[in-house]
């Protein structure tokens, strides 16, 4: 069944969009990632203009992270204090990101920036996660247990001022590196149409050693508010949020997310991380193919302005 998108100005198959929302929602609920890094490329693939895909995806991520946050809140697997610190950094990053997005769109380099960033972010991060989680899986299968947090050893960032206690995360560290991480993610989120969960989750686990149990809920909480802000900023500055597309994606997504969250709860830590790594690396690889192989048509045309 076809439905016309008022902002994207093209008709799409409603069922295709709903199914895409459900599939990505399942993954999103399972891993506590917004799923934007999968959905935005998929939307671009089915022909939605990149600017509209990125802006609309922000609204979808807001909805799916709302569902997720509540679920984790009920399980008490959410560190509100850490989430609020992350949020402060995230909002700053989002504002900068939307400004950068609009500037790139003006000079016509938005698509190049998006592809290149996806390759670097997803490829690099995916590879790192893959190596780490494979090692963890091997260690777990041979019966060894790695010390989760090495005593006495601290990174340089732990000596910075503004230290704060995060009881639920069993953490006592400076908020400066956390704010920096969050603003970077907010920036990337606004430019790439991603929530940033797939960066935030591993960063909290590997760098800050936050227990896996609270990471997902906290990440979703931060993403919820950053994406509400991103939706507002995109809507007011570049008018690219398509409400019809957003509602279709959200409805598909919330159903998928419910089943994903249940599947994720039964998954062991090592395998959870390995699966997420494979997923992130896979999407990065897909973009790398675009970058490293000869495209089917070496020419591409972009409409830069229309006289009506």
């Amino acid at each position: 069944m076809q439905v016309y998108l008022p902002i994207a100005e093209l008709p799409v198959d409603m069922l295709v969009i709903l199914c895409m929302g459900a599939a990505v929602g399942f993954i999103s609920g399972m891993f506590g990632v917004g799923g934007g890094f999968l959905m935005t490329p998929l939307l671009i693939f089915v022909g939605i203009p990149p600017a509209i895909a990125v802006a609309t995806e922000a609204a979808q991520i807001a909805a799916s992270s709302m569902t997720g946050s509540i679920a984790y809140w009920r399980r008490k697997a959410l560190d509100v204090k850490l989430g609020c610190v992350l949020l402060a950094g995230g909002l700053l990053g989002t504002v900068l990101g939307v400004l950068f997005f609009n500037a790139m769109r003006r000079i016509g380099q938005l698509e190049t920036v998006i592809t290149l960033s996806y390759v670097m972010l997803l490829g690099g991060l995916g590879a790192l996660m893959l190596v780490e989680s494979l090692r963890a899986v091997v260690l777990a299968s041979t019966g060894q247990r790695r010390a989760f947090r090495k005593g006495g050893k601290h990174g340089w960032y732990e000596h910075l001022p503004w230290k704060m206690h995060f009881h639920r995360s069993k953490l006592y560290i400076s908020i400066i590196p956390i704010l920096a991480l969050a603003s970077f993610i907010g920036f990337a989120g606004a430019v790439l149409g991603i929530g940033g969960g797939f960066i935030l989750v591993p960063a909290l686990i590997y760098v800050f050693r936050v227990p896996t149990a609270v990471v997902v809920g906290t990440s979703l909480f931060q993403i919820l508010f950053t994406m509400i802000a991103a939706t507002m900023l995109h809507a007011t500055t570049n008018h690219s949020v398509d409400i019809v597309l957003a509602v279709l994606l959200i409805v598909g997504g919330v159903f998928g997310a419910q089943f994903g969250a249940r599947a994720g709860a039964n998954l062991r830590g090592e395998y959870f991380r390995l699966l997420l790594a494979v997923l992130v690396f896979g999407v990065g690889l897909r973009f790398a193919v675009d970058l490293f192989t000869r495209p089917p048509d070496v020419y591409g045309a972009t409409e830069t302005e229309t006289f009506r």
Binding site: E9, T67, T112, V241, V298, A301, T302, T306, R308
Partner: protein, 258 residues
């Protein structure tokens, strides 16, 4: 008074003589001048009817008429980029910008264009997509050898998107002097004013032209939403965000197990 009328007659005769063979009048009619895009819009068809009237004073002529219909969408600037291998990467290396390119071109004719008119006449009358996408003037060099590749690529890309089409036979004569054509507007069509240019030819010469217009606009809910996004962005953004959060919350209520 009489002298004046005679003068007019003489002038008219002179005009007729100057435009030798211009004894045909072309009348056309489009089934609608407005395409309204609603939520279930996936494209639309417009019927074009045409009639040829021949001045009996110019004597009988056994003619097989040819008709070329050109539909052009709103013009826009298009940047065509060429990817090249630089090191291990395939990245945009070269580009040409084309200004005032129709966003939609549909050419309908009763038989192949090269049989209807010579290459020079086709160029003069802008028959076919190739003739509607003008070459870009070389800026910093005398001869731009790569430019034609970009132009060909642009036409190829737009043809693949079904935004440039040539339909032969797309014009049907159901009487030697009456014809019909169906203008097909696809779902991804750009919004704005469209020109429909109808040219009547015979024996490789232009006899008459006629122009119609139609406009593609959003209507109903689509128009309201698009206007809201543009004119009340804060309200629009707030509604979208609240809707998102509301559905997200509703899902947890619906799916709550306890």
């Amino acid at each position: 008074m009489k002298g004046c009328a005679l003068k007019l007659l003489a002038a008219a005769a002179g005009l007729l003589a100057a435009g030798a063979g211009r004894s045909e009048t072309l009348m056309t009619s489009l089934s609608s001048d407005h395409i309204a895009i609603t939520s279930n819009f996936t494209g639309a068809d417009l019927a074009l009817f045409g009639a040829v009237e021949r001045d009996p004073a110019s004597g009988p002529r056994a003619i097989n008429y040819d008709v070329v219909v050109t539909v052009r969408g709103p013009r826009g600037a298009v940047t065509v980029r060429e990817k090249k291998r630089i090191g291990p990467f395939w990245i945009n290396a070269d580009q040409r910008k084309y200004i005032a390119i129709p966003s939609f071109i549909e050419v309908l004719a009763n038989r192949p264009l090269d049989e209807i008119a010579s290459a020079s006449l086709r160029a003069e009358l802008h028959f076919g997509a190739e003739m509607l996408v003008p070459a870009q003037a070389a800026k910093d060099r005398l001869v731009d050898e790569a430019e034609p590749d970009f132009r060909v690529a642009l036409i190829r890309l737009r043809t693949r998107q079904h935004l440039f089409r040539e339909v032969v036979p797309g014009v049907q004569f159901f009487d030697p002097k009456l014809f019909r054509a169906v203008v097909h507007v696809p779902g991804i069509v750009p919004l704005g004013p469209y020109d429909v240019d109808v040219a009547l030819l015979a024996d490789g010469a232009l006899l008459a032209r006629s122009t119609q217009r139609f406009i593609v606009t959003k209507s109903g809910v689509e128009a309201t939403l698009a206007a809201a996004a543009r004119e009340r962005p804060i309200l629009y953004g707030l509604s979208t965000a609240s809707l998102a959060v509301l559905i997200g919350w509703l899902a947890t209520v619906i799916f709550r197990r306890d």
